[in-house]
């Protein structure tokens, strides 16, 4: 009798726990869903007055003029440009640091360096932005003799600082989790350490590294404070590495406070946010796909 009751009690407790966890999972998903819904609800109305092609491919962003022009091509290109240039800096640095930490460094060095690299991620973006604005910009300007230090290159450099920890830390995890047998087998066959890294460990960890890179890139694309402070903010299509640019997050952050509530400008900023959301969503979907397709299951699938 009593044992039966405990059994029931345990079962109902199981149920309750499962229910609670389901609720928690549901809460975060619902929040995300509602945010997306709100984003679309506030962004779509702009397309009543501007066509989608004019919005996405329009070259001029003059949201407060009369008549206003809402062309976000310069903003999109700026976002893509800073992401590409910052990736060109952060991917080699991040991935190579990861290889060093996982394969080259002694345990003691690794113990010290990895937390320091991860600490970089803890630097508030406003601090990095301030650093870029006050210290890097004047140096760049004097060193390269360019009109202004607040430009595409400076912003990319600062963004690279921000994505290196993500890329390095996640890649290092991926490399470190390559099964030891693979490495040992390769070494036993007479391959050098370098050959083992290049032909065995790198292919085995490629999916993890790709995921790391893409997450780092999506962080660079969505980052707001740094580009707001350092990119210069000129809404023109960049023609050189040292042109000032205005990526999408900077534009949204700078203008939202002053845009009259539910005006065209307000809708246009939300529509810009939709485009930005689609970009980062695409990045995440691609990362997910890659990590699924090339997922290494055990040591045998290589």
């Amino acid at each position: 009798m009593s044992s039966k009751q405990t059994g029931k009690k345990r079962q109902s407790r199981e149920k309750t726990i499962r229910f609670v966890f389901f609720g928690v999972a549901l809460a975060s998903i619902t929040t995300l869903f509602l945010i997306a819904l709100f984003l679309f609800a506030e962004g779509i109305p702009i397309f009543k007055s501007v066509s989608v092609t004019d919005f996405v491919f329009g070259k001029y962003w003059y949201p407060t003029d009369d008549p206003a022009e809402f062309g976000i091509l310069p903003l999109i290109l700026a976002s893509i440009a800073v992401t590409v240039v910052s990736s060109a800096i952060s991917i080699p640095l991040g991935v190579l640091t990861a290889f060093y930490l996982a394969e080259g460094a002694s345990a003691r060095v690794r113990e010290w360096v990895k937390p320091i690299v991860e600490l970089l991620a803890a630097l508030p973006s406003v601090v990095i932005g301030f650093f870029g604005m006050v210290i890097v910009a004047p140096v760049l300007q004097d060193l390269l003799n360019i009109p202004t230090g607040l430009n595409l290159f400076n912003a990319s450099l600062m963004l690279a600082f921000m994505s290196i920890p993500t890329i390095c830390s996640l890649s290092e995890d991926a490399i470190f989790s390559v099964p030891g047998e693979l490495k040992e087998a390769s070494l036993a066959l007479g391959a050098t350490h370098w050959e083992t890294i290049a032909r065995v460990i790198f292919p085995a960890s490629i999916s993890g590294i790709c995921t790391a890179v893409i997450l780092g890139m999506s962080r660079a694309m969505g980052e707001t404070m740094v580009v707001l402070m350092v990119a210069g903010g000129a809404a023109m299509i960049p023609t050189s590495l040292f042109d000032p640019v205005r990526p999408m997050p900077a534009s949204i952050a700078a203008e939202m406070a002053e845009a009259p509530f539910q005006s065209e400008h307000y809708y246009a900023l939300f529509a810009t946010a939709i485009i930005l959301f689609l970009f980062t969503l695409a990045f995440n979907v691609i990362a997910e796909q890659i990590s699924h397709r090339y997922r290494q299951v055990g040591a045998a699938t290589l």
Binding site: A137, P147, T148, G233, M236, R246, E255, A259, P260, F261
Partner: protein, 272 residues
């Protein structure tokens, strides 16, 4: 046990309500960051004289102030521009009738790096610079350096005044660097010897050099006598004609002996 708990909760709820009643003299001010320093200084003085009135102030921009005014979440909306037609119709639709009070003047001054030899600039030259026509300072009698144009975000009140007074229906060219605040413009100009920007006279510092416009120095005197060309009134809007504490506060702000003293302290130009 349970009843006791409920009683305690009920007591706290009642206490909260009572506290709310006691703070009936609350004034909420929201809006333009340009007017914010004025609102802060005046409110501090007002609260010192009227300890039973609590004033809470937040910035967020003229647009946000108007939003708050329209949806009834503020008693006073600070604005660095006059209310827009669309905002008026939105307000009237909700039964709110915004009333403007000009509380101070702002005077916007073009600034350059201290090493720049320019002293005076004309309105036409300013317009050409901001249209991207002037590429080098020597074209308008300055040193042989490229011109870096720094402007404010297109939605800021300061930009609107600049666009109206200086640009006169022409556009600031897309290559201009846009900064989000007076402080950021000042910072960017101070760090770049090629730069020109514009800031409110209240933000003037030793790190940047003000230029005369059409041979008139931007100052309180020239703003009030109308000779300085780039100036604007600053407003506080109330929903309907103010009453009670809000009326007292607005009267305090407008009083030349009281509120207007703090306008000058905040770096703006008082009405009188």
């Amino acid at each position: 046990m349970k009843i006791k708990g409920i009683a305690v909760v009920a007591f706290f709820v009642a206490a909260l309500f009572a506290a709310n009643m006691a703070w009936a003299g609350n004034i909420v001010i929201k809006g333009s960051t340009t007017v914010l320093p004025i609102a802060q200084k005046v409110s501090e003085a007002y609260m010192k004289q009227n300890p039973d009135v609590k004033i809470s102030i937040s910035g967020g921009g003229s647009g946000n102030g108007m939003k708050a005014l329209i949806d009834g979440s503020t008693d006073i909306a600070d604005s660095s521009r006059f209310i827009k037609g669309k905002e008026v119709s939105l307000a009237v639709k909700k039964g709110v009738y915004p009333v403007p009070f000009a509380v101070a003047y702002d005077c916007i001054v073009p600034v350059v790096h201290p090493s720049n030899s320019m002293v005076n600039i004309t309105m036409a030259q300013l317009k050409d610079i901001y249209m991207g026509k002037v590429k080098n300072w020597k074209e308008i009698g300055g040193p042989d350096r490229p011109v870096v144009v720094i402007s404010r975000d297109t939605s800021s009140g300061t930009y609107e005044v600049w666009a109206k007074k200086v640009m006169q229906k022409e556009r600031v060219y897309p290559g201009a660097l846009l900064q989000a605040s007076n402080g950021a413009v000042s910072q960017a100009v101070a760090k770049n010897k090629n730069a020109i920007g514009y800031i409110g006279v209240g933000y003037m510092s030793k790190d940047v050099k003000p230029l005369m416009v059409n041979r008139v120095v931007g100052s309180a005197a020239t703003t009030l006598n109308g000779t300085y060309p780039i100036s604007r009134p600053l407003f506080m809007f109330t929903p309907g004609w103010p009453k009670g504490d809000v009326l007292n506060f607005i009267n305090f702000v407008m009083n030349p002996e009281k509120g207007q003293k703090y306008v000058a302290e905040a770096g703006y130009v008082p009405l009188y």
